[in-house]
């Protein structure tokens, strides 16, 4: 089981992409939300909502990888071993949540490794830690909204 279980409250999401920005900075040291490891999709003009797609570490990617390049870490998340990955992108096609990401700069796909920065910096509590929903510093949030 993964140490961090991500959960979302889609209704809270404002589409700001802070999650993608901090994710790409944390993992790639790059200011580039296109290298974020979760997806934010605006559904406009109707119904007027955002949808968040995130990895729940289901492991389908590891199952389908023909060269066993996706490994399960002791902390319960799956990660892409770039040394083994051939860039066939089968996992990208098969991912049930569309959260195996690609970028023109990179030959291999990348995925969420449960670092949790999105949880810490999501301004809306839209993405949170299922085991610790009150983790953020602004607990009054729900009441105020």
């Amino acid at each position: 089981m993964s140490a961090l279980r991500l959960a979302v409250n889609q209704d809270n999401c404002s589409g700001c992409r802070v999650c993608q920005l901090v994710c790409a900075m944390e993992q790639f040291s790059e200011n580039n939300p296109k290298k974020g490891r979760l997806g934010i999709h605006g559904r406009f003009p109707e119904p007027g909502k955002y949808e968040i797609s995130y990895c729940d570490q289901c492991g389908v990617c590891a199952d389908v990888c023909p060269v066993e390049a996706i490994e399960e870490h002791d902390d319960g998340y799956y990660w892409v071993n770039e040394e083994l990955c051939t860039g066939c992108m089968l996992c990208v096609e098969e991912c049930p949540r569309d959260v195996m990401f690609t970028h023109p700069d990179r030959e291999t796909p990348f995925k969420c490794v449960d670092c949790g920065v999105c949880v810490t910096y999501c301004p809306r509590n839209a993405i949170y830690d299922a085991d610790d929903p009150q983790r953020t510093k602004y607990k009054e949030f729900e009441e105020v909204q």
């Binding site: 999401c13 700001c16 802070v18 296109k34 955002y50």
Partner: protein
């Protein structure tokens, strides 16, 4: 190499489809920072005085700043610059959403759009791919339908800025819409797109924005977010957003009501931020990287029409709520939606329609001219006139020119209540008992707009009748607020939740590697301010003190009702403020920068071109 900047400027000629990519000049970055500053400089350099706003030779500059798209709170403001259809002088208008960060990621600090397309077109940018494409069915569509159509064609992640029918028909206050509810609303920037046969700009970018010190920016950016979260304003201000200020503005008697006849609206609590939250809110909608989303996506039903809209925000509440006397938030949201979809600025739009209703009331317009009667507080009347304006049908053709032109044509004393400065309609603060704010409206570079200097809190803080220190305050604010526009970020974290300005100085250094102090940045902002003044001198014949005027209504009529009842700013006091303001700026009594002032700011090229020696 420049850091923070994307490093390239794209130039596209719509006439022959040619394009050119050049490096962002380092000197321009140092002198004019970015976004607003780049727009100002490029307009100055490239527009001859005899180019008219709707000439093929007018240009549109779409520009981001060095902090745009960077990991820090609210870093996604793009600005559009052109020769103003509203004033004939300098124009810019900015908006949030996601297109600014996208443009930087496509690798551009600015796009300069020249010429006129032979047929309705849209511009597609994806990293190095640049294409002028036929607009086809897109032409004629409203902003919502058009954006949906393009997203279907290009993909959900393409960011789109587009005009509606009002822009196509060159309404002088046509806006540019984006992200189903954000607008670069002012000055008629959308009309210039229409004149160029340019329906939309669609952008997609994948690149990393280069930072001088990415690790330091990451740490600093995170600390900035954390500080926003810890600030009490975060939870207090965000839920209602800009609409939250409605009660206070009304309480101090500055809420434009009935075409700025008065400053107090009885039904204010039916159209305020609370009303949005309790009656119409669907979701809080944010711009790129913003932790305090002021966008309120809403829904409602008026007549038999169900609708969704982003808003209303404060300006729309003021200009289409109080100023038109609409007495429910649903009605305000509805006309907000009608205007947004047609691609009309709700500020000028609300102002123009209020002017039309007052004309009707006074017998200067009649049923035959308008096609129906007009009265205050009637949502159908408002929607009807908006539609006429956007299509330039009937009386709409005259009203599409704005209140300055319309009042000159209509006559009958209507100029007294044509609420404009320099030809641009006033926005949402009645200022007869707020001398700083009055001065701010009189002297804003683009015409009557509040966002260059919001002095009203200062009027309240130091005493509303006082004049001392007010010109000083406005000069200070006119450098400070537009500096955010030059950096390409939103000022709300500072303005609305009291975020420490020190943060921006620090992050600017580690993003760009330029060792500028905050004072240096303010100095650049002053340079931009003076350059825009010079632009107006170059482009508007006889430009000077007369152009820094306010509507006669404000000198002739006391505020008749509400908390500001009995007040108005004496003309002599206004002139005194203006004198002081010019003195502080180093301008002559006619409001023209002296050669010494220009030289001190490094604007020698202006002295030369205007032949000031």
């Amino acid at each position: 190499m420049l850091y923070g900047y994307a490093g390239r400027i794209l130039r596209v000629n719509l006439g022959d489809g040619s394009k050119e990519v050049t490096d962002t000049p380092e000197e321009m970055a140092r002198e004019f920072i970015g976004s607003r500053g780049f727009g100002s400089k490029i307009l100055w350099d490239e527009l001859d005085a005899d180019v008219k706003p709707f000439d093929r030779d007018n240009i549109i500059v779409m520009a981001a700043g060095p902090l745009s798209g960077v990991l820090l709170p609210s870093s996604g403001k793009i600005s559009f610059h052109t020769k103003s259809p509203a004033t004939g002088g300098y124009a810019d208008s900015n908006m949030g959403g996601h297109i600014c960060a996208e443009l930087k990621q496509a690798g551009y600090d600015a796009v300069v759009i020249e010429g006129r397309a032979a047929e309705p077109s849209y511009l597609y940018l994806e990293d190095d791919e640049v294409e002028v494409r036929p607009a086809g069915d897109l032409w004629g569509m409203g902003c919502f339908e058009g954006e949906e159509y393009l997203k279907e064609e290009l993909g959900e992640d393409a960011q789109i800025a587009l005009i509606g029918p009002a822009g196509e028909n060159k309404v002088k206050y046509a806006c540019i819409g984006h992200d189903f509810g954000r607008q670069a609303g002012r000055c008629g920037v959308g009309a210039v797109m229409g004149d160029k046969n340019l329906k939309a700009v669609a952008v997609r970018g994948s690149r990393t924005i280069p930072l001088k010190d990415p690790e330091a920016v990451y740490e600093k950016g995170k600390a900035m977010y954390q500080e926003v979260f810890d600030n009490p304003g975060f939870l207090e201000w965000t839920p209602e957003g800009t609409a939250g200020v409605t009660d206070w503005i009304n309480e101090i008697g500055s809420f434009p009501t009935k075409n700025f006849w008065t400053g107090y609206f009885e039904d204010y609590d039916k159209i305020n931020g609370r009303a949005i939250l309790e009656q119409i809110l669907v979701t809080h909608k944010g711009c790129f990287s913003c932790p305090i989303p002021c966008g309120k996506y809403s829904t409602g039903t008026v007549g038999d029409e169900d609708f969704v809209v982003e808003g209303p925000e404060y300006e729309t509440i003021a200009m289409m709520g109080g100023n038109l006397m609409l007495d429910s938030i649903e009605k305000v949201a509805y006309v907000n939606k009608v205007a947004d979809d047609l691609g009309l600025d709700t500020i000028s739009g609300g102002n123009v329609i209020a002017f039309a209703i007052e004309c009707f009331e006074k017998g200067l317009l009649d049923e035959e001219m308008v096609g129906r009667t007009l009265e205050w507080g009637n949502v159908d009347d408002v929607a009807y006139v908006l539609d006429l304006i956007a299509r330039r049908e009937g009386i709409g053709d005259l009203l599409a020119e704005g209140v300055r032109y319309a009042s000159r044509q209509i006559g009958g004393g209507s100029q007294q209540f044509a609420i404009e400065t320099k030809g641009l309609e006033w926005s949402g603060y009645e200022s007869r008992w707020a001398p700083s704010q009055m001065l701010a409206y009189a002297t804003a570079d683009v015409g009557a707009h509040h966002n260059r200097a919001w002095g009203i809190t200062y009027d309240i803080a130091v005493g509303r009748d006082a004049l001392e220190g007010k010109a000083e305050k406005i000069v200070e604010l006119q450098h400070l607020r537009p500096l955010f526009d030059a950096l390409g970020i939103c000022r709300f974290p500072w303005v609305e939740i009291d975020f420490d300005l020190q943060h921006y100085e620090e992050i600017f250094k580690i993003v760009t590697g330029m060792d500028f102090s905050w004072e240096d940045l303010l100095r650049a902002s002053e340079r931009i301010w003076n350059l825009n003044r010079a632009f107006n001198m170059k482009h508007i014949p006889g430009f000077g003190r007369e152009d820094d005027s306010v509507p006669e209504r404000f000198f002739e009529e006391d505020v008749p009702t509400g908390p500001a009842e009995g007040h108005r700013l004496p003309r002599a006091d206004f002139e005194k403020l203006l004198d002081r303001y010019y003195e502080l700026r180093g301008w002559d009594v006619n409001g023209r920068p002296t050669p010494e002032t220009l030289a001190e700011l490094g604007l020698d090229f202006v002295i030369e071109e205007l032949d000031l020696q």
